[in-house]
C-alpha cells in the first residue's frame, strides 16, 4: 500500500486495553484530506475505541497519534477541536427544548466574552446550511424536528468550527433510505472542500457507495486497510466477519407445534419511529430461533413486543399466555438491585401455586424453593437475604435465568443472555437454554454475538432495519 506523504492524521501501532480485554491491538491507520475513510467492523471490533482515540477522550497505552506530523494532544477533547477535529455522535448531543439556533450556540456562543450572540451564529449556520443545500428553520425547537433534520443540526454544529477532520459515528443508523442518500451527497460536498471525513460504519452497502478508503477491524485487530478501488464487497465481508464457523449439529428436537406465530408485526421505538416493519415470525416448541444483526435494528423492540411490554400492531398474533423474558439489561430491567436475592427469585414465582396458593407466600416452602434453585443453578451467594446487588454479574444473570426457566414457560425470549459474562457463566446459560428447548420450550434468542447464535439456534434470522432476513 503506497501512502502519499500528506497524511493528515496518522495512527501507528495503537494499543488500548480495558482491564484484561484488548480493545485495540497494534492498529495503524492514516487519514487523508479530501477522502472519505470508512472504519468497518462488527460489534466489539474496536471501532468505538478507535473513534474515542481520534476524538481525544481515550488515551492509548502504546502507539503514536500524529496530526500534521506532530503528536496529538491526547486526553484533551477540548483541544482536539483546535486541531480541527469535529465529531457527529451517533446519539445526538442536542438539547431538545432549545431551538436549532440555541443548540448551535452551545459549542460557540458567537458573541464576545460572556455575551451570547445567537444572531451571528445563526448567520454562519444559515450560510453553511445553504452551501449544503439544506432548508432548515433555525427557530424551530429541536424536539419538533424529524430525526434526519436533527442529524443535520448535529452536523451543522460540528461544521461551525470549520473543522478539517469530521468524524461521524454510524450516522446512518437512525436514517431512512432517502435521508441516507442526502447525507452522502453532503459528505461528498464536504470531501470536495478538502476535508478528511472519517465514517464509522458497519453496513457494507453504504461503505461501497461512499468510501474512498477502508480500514477493517475485527476483535480489536487491524485486518486490512485499503483503497476501496483495490477491493470488493465479498472481500470486505470476509475481512469483517472472518471465516464463518460451521454450524454445530444440534440434537434434533421433537418438531413441536408452533407456539408463537406473528404476522405483519409493526412496533414503534422510543422516538416513535417504526422500528419493526411488518415482520412475520414463528417459533415451534422445542426449537431455538436465533435472531442476529447489529444492535439497533429493531431487535429490542421486537423482543419487548413479543413479551407484551411494548405496544404493537399485528395482523396475526398467537402467543402463549406465559412468556419467560430474559432482558438484555439485567440491572436495568431484570433485577431490583436493593431487594434480596430471595425476593428477586420470587418475583418469577408469583404464579407458582406451590409457593402459596392465595394472597400470601408460604415462607417455609419459599425458603426451600429458593435454596433448591440456588443449588441447582450453581449460584454463588452468601445468604438468600443479601441484596442482589452484592452478587457478581454472572450470578445476577443466573438469578434471572433460573427464575425464568424454573417456571417452565412454553416460550422463552432471551436478549443477549450472556453479554458481559465470562466464558464459564456464558457456557452455563447456554446449557440451560438448550435444556429448556429440549424439554419442549420454544426459545427466541436475540443476540448480536454470532458465535452464540450458531451455537444455540436451530435456525437463524437476521434483523436489518426492522426487517427479518432468513440466512440458514
Amino acid at each position: 500500500m503506497v501512502s502519499p506523504p500528506d497524511a493528515l492524521v496518522e495512527l501507528d501501532e495503537v494499543t488500548k486495553a480495558y482491564g484484561k480485554v484488548l480493545a485495540l491491538e497494534q492498529v495503524s491507520a492514516r487519514f487523508f484530506r479530501g477522502e472519505i475513510h470508512c472504519v468497518l467492523g462488527e460489534n466489539g471490533a474496536g471501532k468505538s475505541t478507535l473513534m474515542g482515540i481520534l476524538a481525544g477522550f481515550v488515551i492509548p497505552e502504546r502507539g503514536s497519534f500524529m496530526i500534521h506530523g506532530k503528536p496529538a494532544p491526547m486526553g484533551r477533547p477540548e483541544s482536539m477541536k483546535q486541531q480541527g477535529f469535529a465529531m457527529v455522535h451517533q446519539h445526538f448531543m442536542l438539547v431538545p427544548n432549545f431551538t436549532v439556533a440555541e443548540n448551535l450556540c452551545l459549542t460557540n456562543h458567537g458573541g464576545k466574552g460572556v455575551v451570547l450572540n445567537p444572531k451571528s451564529q445563526t448567520l454562519v449556520a444559515a450560510t453553511l446550511a445553504k452551501d449544503l443545500g439544506w432548508k432548515l428553520d433555525l427557530n424551530l425547537l429541536v424536539a419538533d424536528l424529524p430525526v434526519g433534520a436533527q442529524q443535520r443540526v448535529e452536523i451543522l454544529k460540528a461544521l461551525m468550527s470549520n473543522p478539517e477532520i469530521l468524524i461521524l459515528d454510524e450516522p446512518t443508523a437512525v436514517l431512512s433510505g432517502p435521508e441516507v442518500e442526502d447525507l452522502f451527497d453532503v459528505l461528498r460536498t464536504l470531501k470536495a472542500q478538502g476535508k478528511a471525513i472519517i465514517l464509522i460504519a458497519h453496513k457494507l452497502d453504504e461503505v461501497m457507495a461512499i468510501a474512498d478508503r477502508v480500514t477493517v477491524l475485527r476483535k480489536g485487530k487491524l485486518v486490512a486497510g485499503a483503497l476501496l478501488s483495490e477491493t470488493n464487497r465479498d472481500q470486505l465481508a470476509q475481512w469483517m466477519v472472518g471465516e464463518i464457523p460451521p454450524v454445530p449439529e444440534l440434537i434434533a428436537n421433537q418438531a413441536g407445534e408452533e407456539i408463537l406465530r406473528l404476522s405483519g408485526l409493526d412496533v414503534r421505538g422510543d422516538r416513535g419511529e417504526l422500528s419493526v416493519k411488518g415482520i412475520s415470525l414463528a417459533v415451534k416448541a422445542g426449537e431455538v430461533v436465533g435472531i442476529g444483526g447489529v444492535d439497533g435494528n429493531g431487535q429490542i423492540e421486537l423482543a419487548e413486543a413479543v413479551v407484551g411490554i411494548r405496544p404493537s400492531q399485528a395482523t396475526l398474533r398467537e402467543l402463549p399466555s406465559k412468556i419467560g423474558f430474559i432482558p438484555q439489561d439485567r440491572q436495568g430491567q431484570g433485577l431490583a438491585l436493593n431487594l434480596s436475592i430471595r425476593d428477586n427469585l420470587l418475583i418469577g414465582g408469583l404464579e407458582d401455586k406451590s409457593l402459596g396458593s392465595g394472597l400470601f407466600f408460604a415462607s417455609q416452602r419459599v425458603k426451600n424453593w429458593a435454596t433448591q434453585l440456588i443449588k441447582e443453578y450453581e449460584i454463588k451467594i452468601g445468604s438468600p437475604l443479601d441484596p442482589v446487588a452484592s452478587l457478581s454479574g454472572g450470578n445476577q444473570q443466573k438469578i434471572i435465568v433460573s427464575r425464568v426457566l424454573s417456571q417452565n414457560p412454553p416460550l422463552v425470549v432471551a436478549v443477549n443472555p450472556t453479554r458481559g459474562l465470562d466464558i464459564r457463566a456464558a457456557e452455563y446459560v447456554h446449557r440451560r437454554l438448550r435444556m429448556a428447548a429440549r424439554q419442549g420450550a420454544g426459545v427466541l434468542l436475540i443476540s448480536t454475538d454470532r458465535d452464540e447464535l450458531t451455537a444455540l439456534s436451530n435456525r437463524i434470522l437476521v434483523m436489518h432495519n426492522g426487517e427479518l432476513e432468513q440466512i440458514s
Binding site: 480495558y18 480493545a23 468505538s48 475505541t49 473513534m51 474515542g52 477522550f57 481515550v58 488515551i59 497505552e61 486526553g75 477533547p77 413479551v307 407484551g308 411490554i309 412468556i323 423474558f325 432482558p327 436495568g332 430491567q333 431484570g334 433485577l335 431490583a336 438491585l337 436493593n338 431487594l339 425476593d343 428477586n344 420470587l346 418475583i347 418469577g348 408469583l350 402459596g356 394472597l359 400470601f360 407466600f361 415462607s363
Partner: protein, 354 residues
C-alpha cells in the same frame, strides 16, 4: 447483632440531638430533660398524651412506608389525613340519627379510611395515566383537601348551632372508648400496633407486597417481569392514603370529637421523617413514631415552664433526618465518587468510551 447496632446508634443519636438542641436554645439541659421526661413518661397523664400523639404519627408514617417503598413519594399525608376525618364526619352526620353508636363508630373508621385511600389513589392515577408526579400532585392536593374541609365545616357539615366553623361534636357513645376518663387515652391507640402487623405482613409476606417493593425498586424491571406497574403504584397510594386517612379519623373519633380547619396539626408532614428515621420499615416506624410522640408530650410540658415548646420537636426531627438519612447518603455518594476517582487515577486516566 448486625441489625441491632444501627438501631442503637440511631437511638443514641436521637437522644444526643435532643440534648444539643436544648443546649442550642440556651435552656438548662438537665432541668429541661427532666421536664420532658415528666411530661411524657413521668405519670399516667403524660404517658397517655405520648401514646395519643404517637398514634397519628405511626399510622401516617406506615402510610409513607408503603408509598415510598413503591417509589411513590407521597407528600400528601396531611391532606389525606384531613380527607379521612372529613369522610368520618360526613358518615357520622348521616348515621347518628338512624344507627346505634357502635355501628356509627365502625362506619366512621371505615369511611374515613376509604376517603383517604381514594384521595391518594387519585394522585397515583394522575401519575400513572397523566404523567403528573405524585410529589407535585400530593403537595397541591393538600390544599384542595384543606379547602374542601373549610367549605364543608361552613356548609353542609357545620354544627347545628351554626356558630363556629366546625362539625357537630360526636356524642360520647360514638367516640372511641376511654380507658381512664381523666386522661386522653382512647382505644384508638391500639390501631398503630395492628397496622404495624398488617403492613409488615403485606410488605414482606404477601405476593402483592413483593410486587410493590419490586416495582418500587426498579419500575423497568417490574415492567420487564410483566407486572402491572401502574395498578401496583395506584394501589400503593391507596394503602398509603388509607393509613393517613385512618390517622385523621382516629384523631377525630378518639380525641377531638369534632372536625375544624385546624384538625391536622402537621401530622401528615411529620409522618415523612418518622418513616425515614424508621428506615421505611414498619417496626422502625413504630419505634420512631413512639419516640416523637414522647417528645411531643414532653415538649408540651416543657412549654409550660420555658418560652420554648413543641418547636424543639421540629428542630430535632430536622437534625435527625439530616444526620441519619440525608447526610449518610451524601457521604456515601462522596466516598463512592472520590474512591472512583482514585481508581481512575491509579488505572488508565479519562476513559470516556469503551
Amino acid at each position: 447483632m448486625k441489625k441491632v447496632f444501627p438501631i442503637l446508634a440511631i437511638a443514641l443519636g436521637l437522644v444526643l440531638s435532643l440534648v444539643l438542641t436544648l443546649f442550642a436554645f440556651g435552656l438548662d439541659v438537665p432541668r429541661s430533660l427532666g421536664l420532658i421526661f415528666d411530661g411524657a413518661l413521668g405519670n399516667r397523664f403524660g404517658l397517655a398524651t405520648a401514646l395519643v400523639r404517637s398514634t397519628p404519627l405511626v399510622l401516617a408514617g406506615l402510610g409513607m412506608v408503603v408509598a415510598w417503598r413503591a417509589g411513590m413519594f407521597n407528600i400528601g399525608g396531611e391532606g389525606q389525613y384531613m380527607m379521612g376525618a372529613l369522610g368520618g364526619a360526613w358518615i357520622a352526620q348521616i348515621l347518628i340519627p338512624i344507627a346505634p353508636a357502635p355501628v356509627v363508630n365502625i362506619a366512621i373508621l371505615l369511611v374515613g379510611t376509604v376517603f383517604g385511600a381514594l384521595f391518594a389513589a387519585f394522585a397515583g392515577w394522575l401519575q400513572v395515566s397523566r404523567g403528573v408526579q405524585v410529589v407535585i400532585s400530593t403537595i397541591l392536593l393538600n390544599f384542595v383537601a384543606f379547602e374542601v374541609v373549610n367549605w364543608a365545616i361552613r356548609g353542609p357539615l357545620q354544627e347545628a348551632k351554626r356558630q363556629l366553623p366546625q362539625t357537630q361534636s360526636l356524642p360520647d357513645a360514638v367516640m372511641m372508648m376511654r380507658f381512664d376518663p381523666q386522661t386522653s387515652l382512647h382505644s384508638g391507640v391500639i390501631f398503630p400496633l395492628i397496622a404495624v402487623g398488617v403492613v409488615w405482613v403485606f410488605l414482606f409476606v404477601s405476593k402483592a407486597g413483593l410486587k410493590l417493593r419490586f416495582v418500587g425498586d426498579n419500575q423497568d424491571a417490574g415492567k420487564a417481569n410483566q407486572l402491572p406497574t401502574g395498578r401496583i403504584q395506584i394501589s400503593a397510594m391507596a394503602w398509603s392514603g388509607g393509613l393517613c386517612g385512618l390517622a385523621g379519623t382516629i384523631d377525630y373519633v378518639g380525641l377531638v370529637g369534632h372536625l375544624g380547619s385546624g384538625h391536622a396539626q402537621n401530622w401528615g408532614f411529620l409522618a415523612i421523617p418518622v418513616a425515614l428515621l424508621g428506615g421505611l420499615h414498619p417496626v422502625g416506624t413504630l419505634l420512631s413514631g413512639l419516640y416523637f410522640g414522647v417528645l411531643f408530650a414532653g415538649s408540651e410540658n416543657l412549654a409550660r415552664f420555658t418560652p420554648i415548646g413543641t418547636t424543639i420537636v421540629y428542630v430535632i426531627q430536622a437534625v435527625a433526618v439530616l444526620s441519619f438519612v440525608a447526610f449518610p447518603r451524601l457521604a456515601g455518594e462522596w466516598v463512592k465518587r472520590t474512591s472512583a476517582k482514585k481508581v481512575a487515577l491509579a488505572g488508565s486516566p479519562r476513559e470516556g468510551v469503551e
